[in-house]
């Protein structure tokens, strides 16, 4: 599904990704771990198409198409979803209307009619129940005044609504208490099936107790320095990142 070959990316002339190779197939969950500043978040924003980052070398193939030819919204239309580490606050747009706009713009781009209001409402109710989101929360302005945990839960809610093919979750576990972590993990696990893939970007092993990855990669100084199965994460937790450098 996703194939990254020798990806080099920089921002303001500063090289951050220095040759990433990563292959994610449908049905898989990959965890990308690494110390602060190793390029984890850059990797996720580059996949999502942030224009501040320059791709100097290499390619990102999504379902065999090079993503470089597509802008951010087009990548979203293809089924790529990024859960933000720091979701942006947007006063004046409610969660509900935001998700409605998002879904209908996605549908429009894919040649579908708008989702009927009753179907939308049912889906919103179903997904918010799943994530134990209060209906009052849905009529609040997007992320405005949300706690860290609420923001993350809202990201997963959007993911559940949009049902992407590839979900990249950037530090979704940070700022969550253990109960919220379980709810979020449950939401992610519900998305898992043979046609979807998940990339978890995380600093800690904790999340991986609840979303068990098929592969674990360690990113250090812009490169994947080690890959393995879930045991690698446990080993990392015990030995620290210095071990892989």
């Amino acid at each position: 599904m996703l194939e990254i070959n020798n990806l080099h990316a920089s921002v303001d002339g500063k090289q951050i990704l220095k040759g990433i190779d990563l292959k994610v197939s449908s049905g898989e969950v990959h965890a990308i771990m690494g110390p602060n500043g190793s390029g984890k978040s850059t990797l996720s924003t580059v996949i999502a198409g942030h224009e501040d980052f320059e791709i100097d070398k290499g390619e990102i193939l999504f379902e065999d198409e090079d993503l470089i030819d597509f802008n951010t919204e087009e990548r979203a239309h293809k089924g790529i979803f990024l859960s933000f580490q720091y979701p942006v606050e947007i006063p004046g747009v409610t969660v509900t209307n935001f998700i409605k706009t998002s879904i209908n713009q996605m549908r429009k781009a894919n040649g579908l009619d708008e989702m009927p209001a009753n179907v939308m409402l049912k889906k919103i109710r179903e997904k918010s129940d799943l994530l134990k989101i209060d209906s009052k929360f849905l009529s609040r302005s997007l992320n405005e005044g949300f706690s860290g945990g609420e923001k993350k839960r809202n990201e997963i809610f959007q993911m559940a609504m949009l049902e992407p093919k590839l979900a990249i979750l950037d530090e979704t576990d940070s700022g969550l208490d253990i109960d919220a972590l379980k709810i979020v993990a449950n939401g992610v696990n519900m998305l898992r099936n043979d046609d979807t893939a998940v990339v978890l970007i995380t600093h800690y092993q904790r999340l991986l107790d609840y979303i068990v990855p098929d592969f674990v990669h360690v990113l250090s100084d812009g490169k994947i320095v080690k890959s393995g199965n879930k045991n690698l994460a446990i080993e990392l937790e015990a030995k620290g990142y210095d071990w892989v450098k």
């Binding site: 224009e51 933000f84 998002s102 713009q105």
Partner: protein, 438 residues
Amino acid sequence: MDFKEKLISSFMVFEQDIDLSNPVHEIRSRSLKKFEEKGFPNKKQEAWKYTSLAKILKSDYGIFQKKEVTIELKDVQKYFLYEIDTYKIVFIDGIYSPFLSDTTHDGLDVCLLSAALTNPKYKSLINKYFNKISDKTDSLTLLNTSFSMEGAYIYLPKSVTAEKPIEIMHFSTGKQGDFFLQPRNLIIVEENAEVQILERHQSLSNHRPFTNSVTEIYAKDSSRIDYYKIQNDREEAYLIDNTYISQNTKSNVHVHTFSFGGEITRNNLNFYQNGENCNSTLNGLTIINATQHVDHYTLVSHAQPNCESHQEYKGIFSGKSVGVFNGKILVDKIAQKTNAFQQNNNIVIDDRATINTKPQLEIFADDVKCSHGCTIGQLDEEALFYLRTRGIPINEARGLLTYAFANNVLDSVKIPKLKSRINQIISSKLEIKIRHEL
């Protein structure tokens, strides 16, 4: 002959049609004399630093209407909020239109200032309130006072709540070319009374109306006033709005100014708090483009303790448009426990657009809370990225963010239909194509 001279010499013509023995005439003559000394304001004056009248004063405006002009209801219906559910005071080229109006004397007075100025029944109220809070040093106000004759007169007796909003509507037809209009409104809301008022100036053809309006509003103890100024005129229009509001104890006055239209608009909005526990709220939303110019010049004078004022002005500027915000807050020495807030946030969409913003706080009391802030910026790039990762294309994302920025000014609009009207104007002004029900 320049416009000032033309006005001064026209005064004698004006005097031929009015009762010179009326005490109001003494006020008019005195005001004209002062206007003659002062002349029109210019950019050398601090208060007019960012707004030049030179362009306005270049045209030759008609001052007196030569003949009565009628217009069909169907041609102007869209400018009214409701067909029947409002009181209406409608003027066409400055002349009252009984046909389009819906006035009342039943429980409250919604009628003409000309009637109130001449009918002995209103004499004591006119003596008490007419031209009492307007600024006697402001030359445009003086000019308006000199020729003051027509406008809305609204009187709410004690504990009366107006059951429907009042619409004050000024149409300019252009049938006599560029035209100078000087409406004068007097609004008195007695103790514990309540009213909602909408004011709109609308030109109906391709000409330049120059409107110099003065409104005096008296909010007595515990009264509640909501005033909505809808400035969405054609692109040639010039408007100078001078509004003076006197508030007594526990009164609550909220003025919304929506500035979307017109070529040059200047709003002088003055609040004078003369009792304790007053609440003054000033909300403004400006969305302009091309060469439009909107200047908000506000004053809140806190003269008594335990009062509040809240100012929130937002602006979205594209093209070569120019926005000005000057917000003056005065806190008198005895006005302890004042809470005065002021915020001016702007989005500049185009590099050629300009915004000048200036808070002016003069605080003489020591136990007060006053805050002010202003921001000038572009749309948040990270927010745009966020929306785009959710599949919302860049243009729609820009529209959505701009709209969201503007939209919360509508939260405090209490007339649902007005809210949806303004909503529509905002969408069309911002050329937003996607559907929102924010």
